[in-house]
């Protein structure tokens, strides 16, 4: 399913130009070189960008402009990069951040 808005009554038309390949969780995707990761992934139908570090619940974009940090992913080995602010580049390796092995609540209970 193509989620790109190629025709628009006011903003005009766009060409469907896929010129960059990147991987997300080892799967190859194509996107447009001037767009952020979050947009490229959504255009490919990918909504879940990571799983919450503590609860493991799925998370996607929320604010889309860098404020909320919900869309953080690992890019070329660097963790916690905001997918909404990171332009995709050829060969970029993107990975989800998953649930962490250490349950955070354990020590919190002891402290209280």
């Amino acid at each position: 399913m193509n989620r790109r808005i190629l025709e628009h009554p006011i903003l005009g038309n766009l060409d469907d130009q896929y010129d960059v390949s990147f991987t997300f969780n080892n799967k190859v995707y194509e996107g447009c070189g001037n767009e952020p990761l979050a947009a490229a992934l959504l255009a490919n139908g990918v909504r879940t960008l990571r799983h919450h570090e503590e609860s493991g619940s799925p998370r996607g974009i929320y604010c889309n402009i860098g404020h909320c940090y919900e869309c953080r992913v690992t890019v070329n080995g660097q963790p916690a990069v905001r997918a909404c602010l990171t332009p995709i580049e050829e060969g970029m390796v993107v990975e989800s951040i998953g649930k962490l092995p250490t349950p955070v609540r354990d020590w919190r209970g002891e402290d209280e």
Binding site: R4, L6, L49, P58, G60, C63, N64, L85
Partner: protein, 401 residues
Amino acid sequence: MSKVVIIGAGPAGLSAAITCAKKGLDVLVLDEFMKAGGRLLGQLYEEPDGSWWNGIHESTRLYNQAKDLGIQVKLNTPVNHIEKVDHEWVIYTEENTFYTNHLLLATGAAESPVPVPGWTLPGVMSVGAAQVMTNVHRVKPGERGVIIGVNVLSAAIAMELQLAGVEVACMTLPKMNKITSDATDPKKVLNSLLPVSHMAPSEFIKLGSKLMRNDFMKKLGVTFYPKKGVKMWNIPIQLRKAVIEIYGENQVEGVTIATITSDGEVIAGSEEKIPADFVCIAGGLYPLAELAGVAGCPFYLIEELGGYVPLHNERMETTLDGLYIAGNITGIEGAKVAATQGITAGLSIARNSGIIGLEKEIQESVRSIDHTRDRAHIQFHPNVKRGKRKVQEQWKAYYNG
């Protein structure tokens, strides 16, 4: 002379930069986004004269003007801290540290979240996120969406989603809002929106009728159905119902809405499921002022301006030497007001940099902010002028003790 540094490449920041450069100052603009324009990018509405305000065109125009004047614009550059060391402002980014005697914060606004059960599911996003995805990145946030929160911003974005061919199933209120409504009279229904939208209902109706002038909008239609509630641009606005939860296994599958009593209690058995693959949450905007906070600016809570604003005067100076603010950090308003504030800030910076003979120009610029505000046909807060007066009273009180 050190470079003027401006944080934020939106209408306020770019206008300030252009003004400074025209006065012969060397300017550096920083922005964390990948494109210049700030949230002007993605704005799309019809002017009273029937022309369209296209935020992407406006942003490009400002950006090209800045580049032509030799202004350095560094994008993809988040600022994580500022501080005053000796007589200079120090600006920290991941890659570089910048120094200046004149620093303008034009950081804009952020969206207030409204927590609703299920709101962490992928597919739930702020209404501004949907706007950026649709109009800037040209990717559909989904095929069919529900908007939670009825206000000026969400109404405008609902219309923009429709323009892009995205279906808006309905606009509704979150459960926490206790809205009593008289659904027999559309005017009263719109009146009931007032506490939520901070917007005069007459403005709401006027906005609708203006958009009606456009042929395309005529097709979308503006019809009031008193008995069923109200429709705007063919989008049902559910005022007597509220979203109980956003449901879905691994991502949004829809929302459950229910009729609520005047106390906000759910009437049992009234629950209804609306399928959707995305949900927008619209909680309004507040000034994004963290950097002014870490710098040490005094703040005042001014409801009419959308929240806490750093103390400033009409010339966009703060109480801190060499620190200026402009745009939505001074209160929630439209891009045109932000741009005139940017021009004023730019002139103040030029004057404080030693350029003489600017007094008259500054006074005219201050007046043009008021003129622009008076002419604005979309106002986020109806009492913004009262809010602005309050800030000026606080400014006087601060210096007269």
